[in-house]
Amino acid sequence: MSKREVGSGNPVIAELNDVWVGYNGKWVLKSIFLNCRAGEILGIVGPNGAGKSTLLKVIIGLIQPDRGSVSLFGKKPGKEARLDVGYLPQISHAERSFPVTALDVVLMGMYSRIGLFSRPGRKEREIALNMLSMVNMAEHAGRPFGVLSGGQQQRINIARALCSNPRLLMLDEPSTGVDSVAQEDFYVLLAKLRDEQGLSVIMVSHDIGVITSHADQVACLNVEVHYHGEPELCISDEIMEKVFGKDLKIMVHDSKCATCHMRHEDV
């Protein structure tokens, strides 16, 4: 399956319509139009402070937009829609000494489903161990989470997210603290989950290389969305590299830029 075909024509699962978010009197997100289709990996790229994490939080309803509308699985993002989302925040090193094993962390993914007053039992353990095998971490099940490498912790977090049978994975800076070999393996895993389970992925990163080589669709963000389309077009533009280090203000807006609001003005 070529990247170009992945997801196109599938139903839209997440959509932002003219979303504005302000913080302390400044816009951190301006007029965002964006969508993600089922079974596609959408990469959102932009420098630090571009509003990437905010954008993710808006999509899952952790932050309410000041203007505009968001829909997740056709609903307003809330508790119900979130049940279908697996969310992986940035790896935090503050958690290193937290006294849990890899298996404990994966089991957390099922806590909501188990309900109050009861503990994970044999069935939950079995599911958790299956998920650990799926991400190739079965032999680390009993190790303390804190001693695992960044890449291993990330796989554990994926396994935890998969426990709740999500339709969409949301990843915040998945490359942070992960060496390049582990990164490559990780994106192969994401592609496998997309192809075998029809999982959709939205990930944000400041690493343009990672996004363009592993995403089916790319959105370039710096407060506004400057590009939304296929990664080949995004990276082939030599301006892209120049622009990315400093200020993001370009780019190609063409007919493929399906949801881009500038389509009508520029093209």
Binding site: L62, Y87, S92, S97, F98, I114, F117, P120
Partner: protein
């Protein structure tokens, strides 16, 4: 060792000490993991306002201290969630406010109350049978609360954002835990005192975290540290004629430093 148990007040002190050791050890497990140490300081000091109010109105200071501690801990949690204020700012404000109210209440009361010193630094001579019942009942409530909501509290402590996205009632759980924390503080006041109780909300969990990497063993070690500190501290304070609360906290700190050393050796 046996002869100190001949005194009723020492028997009461030991009994109360053992119950509150277990309670504080479990609460301290979460305090350390959630990084709530300073909240513990704020909540315990706010109990002073409650004690003074109870003594002014002539009602049970334990009851009013509980009211103050519950209100202040939840207020800290509420304000700390707002965007414009950080938790430590909220603690700084409510902590001082409750202490200031305490001083005003003492001033309004015409009787000179020697008891207040006991509440500040602990007074095992003042522990009555009723106190034991109060410690037992409130302590049991805290332990059951932690038991029934254990996996939820653990998940929220691990990563509250992920817990929220996966459907956990994070805000409720935070206030629930802050209320538990207030209960734990209030039952410790008579033995350890308002000023020093926050130490026992931190030291057992912190000491345990140095030598364990599973939550079950961390809780077990935390309980062990608290029990040894409290009973050992009581014995030492009796024979050396020292203030009980201060001796317990000093002894607990000593155990903490030993645990730090043990943890370093183990990692080699």
């Amino acid at each position: 060792m046996i002869e100190i148990l001949n005194f009723e007040f020492m028997r009461n002190a030991f009994l109360a000490g053992i119950i509150l050791s277990i309670v504080l050890a479990v609460v301290s497990f979460f305090v350390v993991l959630k990084r709530y140490s300073f909240i513990g300081v704020g909540v315990s000091h706010s109990a002073f306002g409650g004690v003074a109010l109870g003594s002014l109105l002539g009602i049970s200071p334990t009851l009013t201290a509980l009211g103050f501690a519950v209100i202040v801990s939840n207020a800290i949690g509420y304000v700390g969630r707002r965007e414009r204020l950080s938790t430590d700012t909220a603690i700084g404000i409510f902590f001082a406010l409750a202490m200031a109210l305490g001083v005003i209440f003492i001033g309004l009361s015409d009787k000179y109350n020697t008891d207040l010193f006991g509440y500040l630094f602990g007074n095992i001579l003042a522990i009555t049978r009723t106190d034991i019942v109060v410690v037992g009942v409130l302590g049991t409530i805290v332990l059951f609360a932690c038991y029934f909501f254990f996996k939820e509290l653990l998940f929220v402590a691990f990563d509250s954002e992920v817990a929220f996205v996966s459907g956990m009632p994070v805000v409720f759980l935070d206030h629930f835990f802050l209320t538990i924390l207030a209960f734990a503080v209030v039952i410790s006041i008579k033995i350890v005192g308002i000023v020093l109780v926050s130490a026992l909300l931190v030291i057992p969990g912190a000491a345990a975290s140095q030598v364990t990497d599973r939550y079950v063993s961390m809780i077990a070690v935390s309980i062990g540290v608290a029990l040894i500190s409290t009973t050992g501290g009581l014995v030492i304070s009796y024979y050396a004629d020292l203030a009980s609360g201060a001796t317990i906290v000093t002894f607990a700190s000593l155990i903490f430093f030993i645990m730090v050393g043990v943890g370093k050796l183990r990692k080699r």
